[in-house]
């Protein structure tokens, strides 16, 4: 029993361990978490309302499970999104940009400044409502997936300009 607990604890701690990085990761804006929560609320509020309406219309004990299930899903989603929000991070090093993300599948991407071909700054409706933007980097490789969401609009523009400047200085193309 004790052994099982130790093994499980060890496994969990191993799963939660973050990669050691030779640089400090910068987190995305806390407003990004507000934006994500807003999206969760916008998705789950009507669902929960519908479930409550069904329960009210049909009465009966068994139907209580429906809104309860929806609420449980919402909480689960909330927990997952919280975890995801906390894993986002980026670090600007001397020669490359490091982006970290993912809760279940943890990913760390290293993109040299000289390889950046295109830098996108996008902002969806929810992002705009919170004054946020996403910075996306493209290289000549299709597999490169460096995306940093949830930056303050001004920060995103600054980051883009900085990246563009170093990118130009170090451009090596293909």
């Amino acid at each position: 029993m004790v052994l099982a607990i130790i093994v499980t604890g060890h496994t969990i701690s191993r799963m939660l361990r973050e990669p050691r990085a030779p640089a400090e990761f910068r987190r995305v804006s806390p407003r990004f978490w507000m934006a994500r929560q807003t999206v969760i609320a916008l998705v789950f509020a009507p669902l929960l309302g519908g479930a409550l309406a069904v329960m009210a219309a049909l009465g009966g004990g068994g139907w209580v499970l429906l809104p309860a299930g929806v609420a449980a899903l919402a909480v689960l989603q909330w927990v997952i999104e919280l975890g995801r929000y906390r894993t986002w991070g980026y670090a600007e090093r001397e020669d490359d940009l490091i982006v970290r993300r993912g809760l279940m599948f943890r990913r760390v991407s290293v993109v040299p400044y000289g390889r950046m071909q295109l830098i996108d700054v996008t902002a969806g409706p929810v992002d705009r409502a919170f004054g946020l933007a996403t910075v996306q980097l493209h290289t000549a490789a299709a597999a490169t997936d460096a995306r940093i969401p949830g930056l303050l609009r001004a920060d995103a523009d600054l980051l883009r300009d900085r990246l563009a400047a170093v990118g130009e200085a170090e451009a090596t193309g293909l």
């Binding site: 490359d96 943890r106 760390v108 071909q117 830098i119 000549a140 490789a141 193309g173 293909l174």
Partner: protein, 461 residues
């Protein structure tokens, strides 16, 4: 090579007068293929009425005639010249099109001779240029001698040499034996498995005719498609030879349609050594090449931007490794000790663990994967676009992680799967650092021609 035949100055030249014939032979063949069954149907359906048959005959003949006329007109209005600084092609009757391909951006000049063209002594010159979207530099057709001369001149000018410089001599590296090619193609699983099934079916047929017939009839179509694939590959890779010239690798290949292609060294993003299961006893290997992605260009069969993908269709191990060494100097494809992932990776990748391996040196990163066929991808570190570390839930439970090394190629990346977690992290930083050094040291202009400005500069949104 007569220089007088190709003045570089202002004189415009037509393509060869027989060009429309060759160019539209394909269309004619296509038309006949479509028309004959239709006509057959018309004759069968309208047993008594000869009229509909005549009408459709006239329609088809008219289509044929139109395409011929179209071809002649297109030949009449097409002219080309090598001006100062660019290759100029003007074409089109109604929609005039003027194509200018800057000589400095030319990456390769290929010569393709289709069957009919070879009979008539004609060949097509295809100009592969750097940049987005494909500028279609096709001169179809010139006489074989003209094509070689034009090619030599374009290459000389593209490299900033005097126009009269002859084509750099190519040093032969490998020639593929045709008999071995047939054997090797047959031994690839695509045909071997259906063939074995077929033999099994034949045996069953003798024992139990009913069941055997069913198995046989399901196998036949599979076998047929495999046979077609083999025939096509054989047609493409017949008389395959690789040679090395100053600007890149030269490939000569083809049974019906001969191709003379160049893969510029600078465009090579990665190489891959493949060994299909059934080649293992013979010790044969296949060497494939990955080149930079063309933005927005479709990789169609006739696309002049399309570049060969096979460097050597089949060759003994030593030969393949020697060629690999020519292209990527000092790339060690022998796995050093410690290249295998830890044993616990067997739980995550039970079917491919036996082949999994990865290692890297100062200039190259290598990763081997595969279940039945072993495939080793070799990526030169100065071509690395990004390095990624990935840990899935199962991998995290086992303390494993994968490292992917991306290039601008369109086919593979070096996937170092299921390494020990700590090792993978160390490699992530290590490979990034080494790639940075490799980029600094790979001087443009030596062997790697610098990409022209259009492709190189980052585009800022």
């Amino acid at each position: 090579m007569s220089d007088a035949a190709l003045p570089v100055g202002t004189s415009w030249r037509r393509l060869h007068p027989l060009s429309p014939l060759v160019r539209f032979a394909r269309i004619v063949v296509g038309l006949i293929v479509v028309a004959v069954p239709t006509l057959e149907a018309a004759r069968g359906g309208a047993a008594g009425r000869g009229r509909s048959l005549t009408t459709s005959l006239i329609v088809w003949a008219a289509l044929l005639g139109l395409s011929m006329i179209g071809g002649v007109v297109s030949w009449l209005v097409t002219r080309w010249r090598i001006g100062d600084g660019d290759l100029q092609i003007e074409t089109g009757l109604i929609r005039r099109q003027s194509i200018r391909i800057p000589l400095a951006r030319i990456q390769a000049v290929d010569i393709v001779a289709p069957l009919l063209g070879r009979i008539l002594g004609l060949a097509e010159v295809r100009v592969v240029s750097a940049g987005r979207g494909g500028e279609h530099g096709r001169l179809a057709y010139l006489t074989a001698a003209e094509a070689t001369a034009a090619r030599a001149r374009l290459l000389a000018l593209a490299h900033g040499l005097a126009a009269e410089t002859p084509e750099p001599p190519a040093q032969p590296l490998a020639v593929v034996d045709n008999l071995r090619l047939v054997l090797a193609l047959t031994l690839r699983a695509g045909i071997a498995v259906p063939l074995l099934l077929m033999i099994a079916a034949a045996v069953v047929l003798i024992v139990a005719p009913r069941a055997g017939a069913i198995v046989l009839s399901t196998c036949l179509p599979i076998l047929f498609t495999s046979a077609v694939t083999i025939a096509r590959t054989f047609n493409e890779e017949f008389e395959f030879s690789v040679s090395e010239a100053g600007d890149g690798l030269r490939l000569d290949r083809g049974l019906l349609q001969r191709r003379h292609e160049t893969i510029p060294f600078g465009r090579i993003q990665a190489l891959r050594v493949v060994q299909p299961l059934l080649w293992r006893p013979a010790g044969w290997l296949r060497l494939e090449v990955d080149v930079a992605r063309q933005h927005g260009a479709q990789q169609s069969r006739d696309d002049p931007q399309r570049v060969a993908r096979t460097l050597v269709p089949v060759a003994p191990r030593a030969e393949v490794l020697a060629l690999l060494g020519r292209v990527f100097a000092e790339a060690g494809v022998e796995q050093p000790p410690g290249a295998k992932p830890p044993r616990r990776a067997m739980l995550k990748a039970p079917l491919s663990y036996h082949f999994l391996a990865a290692w890297h040196g100062a200039r190259y990163a290598c990763a081997r994967t595969g279940r039945l066929q072993a495939a080793t991808v070799v990526v030169p570190l100065h071509k690395v676009q990004s390095v990624r570390l990935k840990r899935g839930p199962v991998q995290r439970m086992l303390g494993l992680a994968s490292v992917h090394v991306d290039t601008a190629g369109q086919r593979w990346q070096a996937s170092m799967r299921c390494r020990d977690e700590g090792e993978a992290e160390a490699w992530l930083w290590d490979i990034s650092a080494k790639a940075r050094l490799a980029r600094r040291h790979s001087s443009p202009g030596s062997r790697q021609r610098a990409a022209p400005p259009g492709v190189a500069g980052p585009v800022i949104a």
